[in-house]
């Protein structure tokens, strides 16, 4: 029983961090990564990393992204404490 619990616990690992919907809003606005990067004064690589949840942007960049994507911070970013896979 304990083995099953351990295996299931390992399988249902926690995914924590800041999630975002930058890609979704960007596509809605019909902007390319490059165009969005130019609008917010960042590099395309940074936008790509943000979209793939590999980099947490600063508050300043978050606000700029929300402004350009015409949305608010709560819709664009949220914290994930635990997601069971």
């Amino acid at each position: 029983m304990s083995i099953i619990f351990c295996v299931s616990h390992i399988y249902m690992t926690k995914q924590e961090g800041i999630m975002n919907r930058v890609r979704e809003f960007r596509q809605k606005q019909k902007l390319s990564q490059n165009a969005l990067a130019k609008e917010v004064g960042a590099a395309r690589q940074t936008i790509n990393l943000i979209e793939n949840d590999k980099y947490n942007p600063s508050l300043e960049l978050c606000i700029k992204l929300a402004e350009v994507l015409q949305t608010d911070l709560n819709s664009l970013f949220w914290e994930v404490e635990s997601i069971e896979r």
Partner: protein
């Protein structure tokens, strides 16, 4: 939304070989790499100075030459090597160019290669002239010597070609 770059930003970009905008992600990575390099240098300095103190009395001249050689080796190969590897691993040196601007950027790269080659030729020619004064050779005679001029031009051509290749490899076409 493009801010004007300050002198410090320009120096950082040139020093680390960053192309394009130095945004917060790149800045953070550069700070991280710089911090690691600093810790490496500090550790090396402490150990090397301790060793110099131990051996300086017995054989000061040899110790000095070994110390200088080790410093140059450490700075050029270890620190610069680490910075170069880390920068290329994080893809911070890539120069992303839109497909429509690729031809223009390639031309710019050729011009940069030629410019750097000329700078190198002139710089190395003058530097060699100054160094020749140490061996009691006349500076003016060295500067106007056709053999030395040709050698400097060849050196400049090689350096320019290498820099062109390096810059060309960093160009990355981005599709819209």
């Amino acid at each position: 939304m493009k801010d004007k770059e300050g002198l410090l930003i320009k120096i950082i970009k040139r020093f680390y070989g960053i192309s394009g905008v130095l945004d917060e992600y790149k800045k953070r990575q550069v700070e991280h790499i710089g911090n690691n390099a600093f810790m490496l240098i500090l550790g090396y300095m402490m150990v090397s100075n301790l060793l110099v103190m131990l051996f300086a009395r017995r054989n000061p001249e040899l110790t000095l030459w070994v110390f200088i050689s080790c410093n140059i080796f450490f700075a050029v190969f270890v620190i610069c090597g680490y910075v170069l590897l880390a920068m290329s691993h994080l893809k911070l040196t890539e120069n992303e160019v839109e497909a429509k601007d690729m031809v223009k950027e390639e031309k710019k790269t050729i011009l940069k290669g030629i410019g750097l080659g000329i700078y190198f030729s002139v710089g190395i020619h003058l530097l060699n002239g100054l160094l020749s004064m140490e061996s009691k050779e006349d500076f003016i005679y060295y500067i106007v010597s056709p053999d030395r001029i040709v050698a400097s031009i060849f050196g400049g051509c090689f350096f320019g070609c290498m820099m062109y290749l390096l810059l060309r490899l960093r160009l990355k076409k981005v599709e819209e």
